[in-house]
Symmetry: C2
Subunit: 373 residues, 2 copies
Amino acid sequence: MLTPSCLQIVQIRIDEEKERTTFMVRLGGNEMRDGGDLKDGARERPTLKTIAFMTGLGITTVSRALKDAPDIGADTKERVRLVARQIGYQPNRAGVRLRTGKTNVIALVLSIEEELMGFTNHIVFGISEVLTGTPYHLVITPHASARDPMVPIRYILDTGSADGVIISRTEPNDPRVALMEERGMPFATHGRTNMGIVHPYHDYDNETFAREAVRRLVARGRKNIAIILPEGHLSYTGHSIKGYRDGLSLHGARSVPFDSVTVESPLTAIHDATRALMAGPDAPDGLISMAGGCTIAMVAGLEAAGKKLGRDVDLVSKQNSDLLKWIRPEIIAVNEDIRAAGMELARAVLASIGGAAPESLQTLYQPSFAEDA
Amino acid sequence: MLTPSCLQIVQIRIDEEKERTTFMVRLGGNEMRDGGDLKDGARERPTLKTIAFMTGLGITTVSRALKDAPDIGADTKERVRLVARQIGYQPNRAGVRLRTGKTNVIALVLSIEEELMGFTNHIVFGISEVLTGTPYHLVITPHASARDPMVPIRYILDTGSADGVIISRTEPNDPRVALMEERGMPFATHGRTNMGIVHPYHDYDNETFAREAVRRLVARGRKNIAIILPEGHLSYTGHSIKGYRDGLSLHGARSVPFDSVTVESPLTAIHDATRALMAGPDAPDGLISMAGGCTIAMVAGLEAAGKKLGRDVDLVSKQNSDLLKWIRPEIIAVNEDIRAAGMELARAVLASIGGAAPESLQTLYQPSFAEDA
DNA sequence: GATAATTACTGTAACGATACAGGAGATTTG
DNA sequence: CAAATCTCCTGTATCGTTACAGTAATTATC
């Protein structure tokens, strides 16, 4: 039953300097209690103390009631929750963090060289969508990838500034993964590793993409194929190469070397290298691009060499946004849904923080080529 | 002079349950002091207490020494700073935040519908670059722009979760600006307002861009011009229209209505509308686009209508990334440097937090057309 | 040479939350 | 009916930091 809490304000202190009004309360018995500040027009932010005063309960009780602890009576919980909802109570993050060490922060560590076409946008909003409705905030921790990528990781670990970390540009033998694993920091990687550590990840099956890309090209009669790859040290470089090679031998095509540039190179360099390649004696008739940004420069380059897409050469490309079809509908474009990746990664870190087994937090998305292509 | 602090550990308590070792210290006199925990292998994070113990000073003294307070001796400060640097002391954010209310957080409020081509990426890394080396962290607070854009602002204000806020997609009469102003929250807007509130902002001079765009088109003999505008309620829509109209009357051109789509419309809609426009009886010979993403669809649309860029029609477009020239070199593209905008915005909020006058924190970037264009 | 002022440092309380160790009152047990 | 048990609630200490109100020792003042 809801006992009316018979409390009574017996003393009001007005502190003009501090512009606050405090008061004492007499409870049912005759012990006094500090009632806290009288919020002027509910302007001040409510705390547990506010609810404790309003309900006539102790601060501890309120705290435990809101946590649904087993040693609090059912109708007390109800009452506390009601009041908390009414006054819009939200736990003070600094208080929680100081006392418990829980930051309620997910750190997204991004290289400033992430891909041009909306990668950051998509992954950020994918993660955000999952974090909405949880107490977690998303903090962006950037690093110049040329510099030491360990710096932001060490910072987060040393200062304990996040409960979970999401990293991208994963390498097969990634020291960031090793360090976070060692220190027990929950994390998820965009891209797999190959170092004997079982950890949460989300990845796109670039091996399948590359292999299937070769298949589509061969199906169109293209047998001399070139591929533009990511930087050498990233995990997905290896997967791409593997799929590419498998595709070549599986479908009987040959590789035209094209390794003077990577998908990270300046667009001008990619353009020039593609023109040179396509104008040369051993010009390929099939091209594979692992990233949408560089595809645009490649198209310009091959056209500068006098070639025509669909006639002289076919091009399969991955993309993050649905842009390529507007540029040249002839491009065989395959979407990598980075927003979905962000969502998976966020789900994985949250679950990892919650203690889920890492092997249950690994997802691999399959490339989806258009039906006939 | 650096007096050697003659302290002595006189009692060690080993608490096996909590796995910690604490100890008492006898100082030069004979008062005892709690020496805190003996960090096992410097694994635990150092706090003021650690430094206090190591230097033999009080916690308060250490705190004030690190703040360079005037009532602390010069060599004491030196000594404290040395130790702090040695052990890699970093203030606990939760402690500071709880005590002072200072969050050391800048919130970037982004609509999930920000432009495709790298807007988020650029602004985030621009802001980050300025925040690097400061104690500030960047928190991304997203909102579905269809929903109430006030929600994230109210959240930040009610929970005091940031020291400063950066917003984009500013409107001439923006309730977010009014609210933050009223509550005294430092902020900077990407885009100006027109509501009698002087506040920090950064903006791109879209009025000049649109006016100059008309001039370039007229200089190429184009007199029938259409423009694709941003959504109606944004500040820069008004600026664009103003510049556009001024340009038309100034250079003697006429406007071909093109308002069935905005730069926010789906690319398919933009494509179709452009094709219809260009295939119609009143097809313009000059086009102006306020955003790079939609320009790509427009180009596809006008080519689908059988028109050729540079021959039948010229196109002036803004862009965030240097992509358009690879798509059609004929496009007269003008870069809006969003990374620089992020830097300006971050500088502005930080200065605003520091108490700088808002009128000194307003920047307007001029469009830079290529030399001859 | 007593008092005042200055210098350099320190202890206590508080920010808001939670872990922990009670503790009062009702209910069951033998 | 005393003891044990169970229910439900509460006070205290603590996380790391800083504001504030001291205090002891030295130096300046008259």
